[in-house]
Amino acid sequence: MSWYPYCVAGWLVLAGIFGVVRSRDLIHTVICVSIAQSGTYVLLLSIGYQSGASAPIFGSSTPPSAPVVDPVVQAMALTDIVVSATVTALLLALVVQVAKRHGTIVPDELRALRG
């Protein structure tokens, strides 16, 4: 098992957070949150990966004794994707309202809450 997928996962999370920090557009911010989350999918899937193993669906081509990748992390990634869809939709809906009420979606120009 190489370090490569773990590095990709860490990179995606950090790149996503960096994107949020430097964002000049709230839609960009929300997409960057999704990118940070995709890092967690890569991490989970690489934890369950086994070289030479097949998908964890047993049938005629995959007898129960055959090596398969870990299905638990796949279920976790799936749950994570559902959560992501909900949160992204909710955040985008809030961005639409920010655009309507503030007339801008540039984070630097949102001045309502400070101190």
Binding site: V20, S23, L44, T79, G115
Partner: protein
């Protein structure tokens, strides 16, 4: 399987079921039916949590979902584990939800059942987070309560501040949740388990390697974001400033303290004996002290009353973290009693602020000056709440504070705890004296660019209230009375002491969850009032009253004193202004601080 094993899943699913009925049928039902149905859901939740409290008097209640019991300590099942601490948290969630719904009975005029349904989903998420014994389920419930909370914070979508606060809240908490999920992934990679007990058993007896340490640091970061520890605290003030007032009761009273609970649970089941005690204590103490001090400073220098209360919550979260940092049953009992008393008192204060907002359309302390003089009774309650926050005996907050001072940190920590609680209490008393009693000179209304004033808030009710509805005042009295009962009933303190011992009993937890073995409880610390605790509680309440009077009458002081104060204050003022400037309302800054904080947590743990 005993009957009591059905209680935890029921406590989680029942509010979800009622919430779904409300969402489906909300548009066809009249308003009273919506409110009544939601209230039935919350009250049944109170009953279930109370039954669970009874069932967990001498043991843990363990529910293997779907009947997947462990065989010889090996299991593929998912488990709910209730003890007195987390069923108490579930009870707190249900009681605060009921109070929020009672207060909201006449509060929102036009809401299509969304408010009630979201509140019930929020309740389910928090109950699940408290009761589960599985790390990944903790993450899922964390996200469920998160999603419901973002929507509740941004509920008043016509308001610019509301949607902005909801958005920052959502972004910061989501990023925290993803860091937490990475930590869960790392622990799964090491142990192949997701259950807390299973992970604890797999790691037991081995010192932490960097992978386990990193996993624990990331999970702690996730829960600390929810707890709003410094430097993850920025979202909390924004979310509280914009959320409907009854929702603030839930945010402050139980959602943020549940983050502290999460850190405690994960430490005591998984990390105790694996990660060095010194490292965990250092991490919790550093964050706790920073959070308490910064929260108190920001609280005292606010004029937006809801933000002021929010920063006071942050200061108290710091105190709960210090209680946890004692890494002893007494510290846990202190934090638990403090949190329970705080929930009642802070909830009552938020609701009183909500009444002010609906009556005067502003939550600016300076604008509110002298406007509540018709409502002296509310004023007395508000000032009493402020003094209780400072630790006035016999409120639960006072008991928690007294036990915190006795948790073995020494005199320096006692001084800090008294100072922090007195300053946050003083800020509240100051608002109460100015608003309801019109004391002191009228504050000037000019505002600087670095603060949120809370002027011209949209009222949350359609027409401003001439008379306070009985339901609103009933909710206030219920919460304040609850905060009082926590400190008055000796039974509460005693059983919290025993509950804290069981909470900290790692070996007993693993043995009961994995092998069904029950164990005897160790020595229960004395968690009653001591003479010293009462005296120090009175001292901090007196300090709070004095400090508030000083703030109210600052401009009437003799000239020499004022000039002296100005000379002393000269170096402090720029520091305070830059502190306020740090709270920029910019979501990118918050994300940057999140990374800094995650690094700090990992660094403090890695120092060994």
């Amino acid at each position: 399987m005993p009957m009591s094993a059905a209680l935890p899943p029921l406590a989680i699913t029942l509010p979800i079921a009622v919430g779904c009925v409300l969402l489906a049928a909300g548009r066809y039902l009249p308003r009273w039916a919506i409110d009544g149905l939601a209230m039935v859901g919350a009250v049944l939740g109170v009953a279930l949590a109370a039954l669970l409290m009874v069932a967990t008097a001498h043991t843990r209640v363990i529910t293997w979902l779907g009947g997947w019991q462990p065989r010889h300590g090996v299991t593929v099942g998912i488990v709910l584990v209730a003890d007195r601490i987390n069923s108490g948290a579930a009870l707190l969630v249900a009681v605060l939800t009921a109070a929020a719904l009672l207060f909201g009975w006449r509060y929102f005029e036009d809401v299509h059942a969304h408010y009630q349904a979201l509140t019930l989903l929020f309740m389910a998420g928090m109950t699940g987070f408290a009761l589960t014994g599985d790390l990944f389920d903790m993450f899922v419930f964390f996200e469920l309560m998160g999603a419901a909370a973002y929507a509740l914070a941004g509920l008043r979508i016509e308001e610019p501040e509301s949607v902005q606060g909801g958005l920052s809240f959502g972004v910061v908490n989501s990023l925290g949740a993803y860091l937490c999920l990475m930590g869960i992934g790392l622990l799964y990679a090491r142990t192949g388990q997701l259950g807390l007990a299973q992970i604890g058993a797999a790691l037991a007896g081995k010192p932490a390697d960097p992978l386990v340490l990193g996993g624990f640091a990331l999970i702690a970061t996730g829960w600390l974001v929810k707890a709003a520890a410094v430097p993850f605290h920025f979202w909390l003030a924004d979310a509280h400033a914009v959320a409907p007032t009854p929702v603030c009761v839930l945010f402050s009273g139980v959602m943020a303290p549940l983050g502290v609970y999460g850190v405690g649970r994960v430490y005591w089941v998984i990390a105790h004996g694996v990660v060095a005690d010194g490292a965990v204590r250092r991490m919790l103490l550093v964050l706790g002290v920073l959070t308490a001090v910064l929260g108190a400073l920001m609280c005292f220098t606010q004029r937006h009353v809801k933000r002021l209360l929010a920063y006071s919550t942050i200061a108290h979260i710091g105190l709960f973290l210090i209680g946890l940092a004692a890494l002893s049953p007494l510290g846990i009992a202190a934090a638990a009693l403090y949190a329970a008393g705080h929930a009642g008192v802070k909830g009552a204060l938020f609701l009183l602020t909500g009444i002010l907002l609906s009556r005067h359309q502003t939550v600016d302390e300076f604008e509110l000056y002298g406007r509540g003089t018709q409502h002296r009774f509310s004023g007395v309650l508000f000032v009493l709440g402020g003094l209780a926050l400072a630790g006035l005996p016999p409120f639960g907050t006072g008991l928690g504070k007294a036990l915190l001072e006795e948790s073995g940190f020494g005199a320096g920590m006692t001084v800090l705890v008294i100072a922090v609680s007195a300053v946050t209490g003083a800020a509240v008393v100051r608002v109460g004296l100015r608003t309801y009693f019109g004391l002191g000179p009228r504050p000037s209304r000019e505002s600087s660019a670095e603060e949120t004033t809370g002027r011209q808030e949209q009222p949350e009710v359609e027409e401003s209230l001439r008379r306070t509805p009985a339901t609103m005042l009933a909710a206030v009295l219920l919460l304040l009375g609850g905060g009082l009962l926590v400190g008055v009933l000796p039974w509460v303190a005693r059983s919290t002491g025993a509950a804290a011992v069981r909470f900290a009993d790692q070996r007993g937890y693993l043995a009961q969850v994995l092998h069904g073995a029950t164990s005897r409880l160790g020595d229960v610390p004395d968690t009653g009032w001591s003479a010293e605790g009462v005296a120090l509680g009175l001292v901090s309440a007196a300090l709070a009253a004095g400090l508030a009077a000083l703030a109210v009458y600052a401009r009437r002081l003799p000239g020499a004193v004022r000039i002296g104060a100005r000379v002393v204050g000269r170096p402090v003022r720029p520091a305070l202004i830059s502190l306020h400037r740090l709270h920029s309302g910019h979501v990118g800054d918050y994300a940057a601080w999140l990374v800094v904080g995650a690094g700090a947590v990992a660094g403090l743990l890695a120092l060994g």
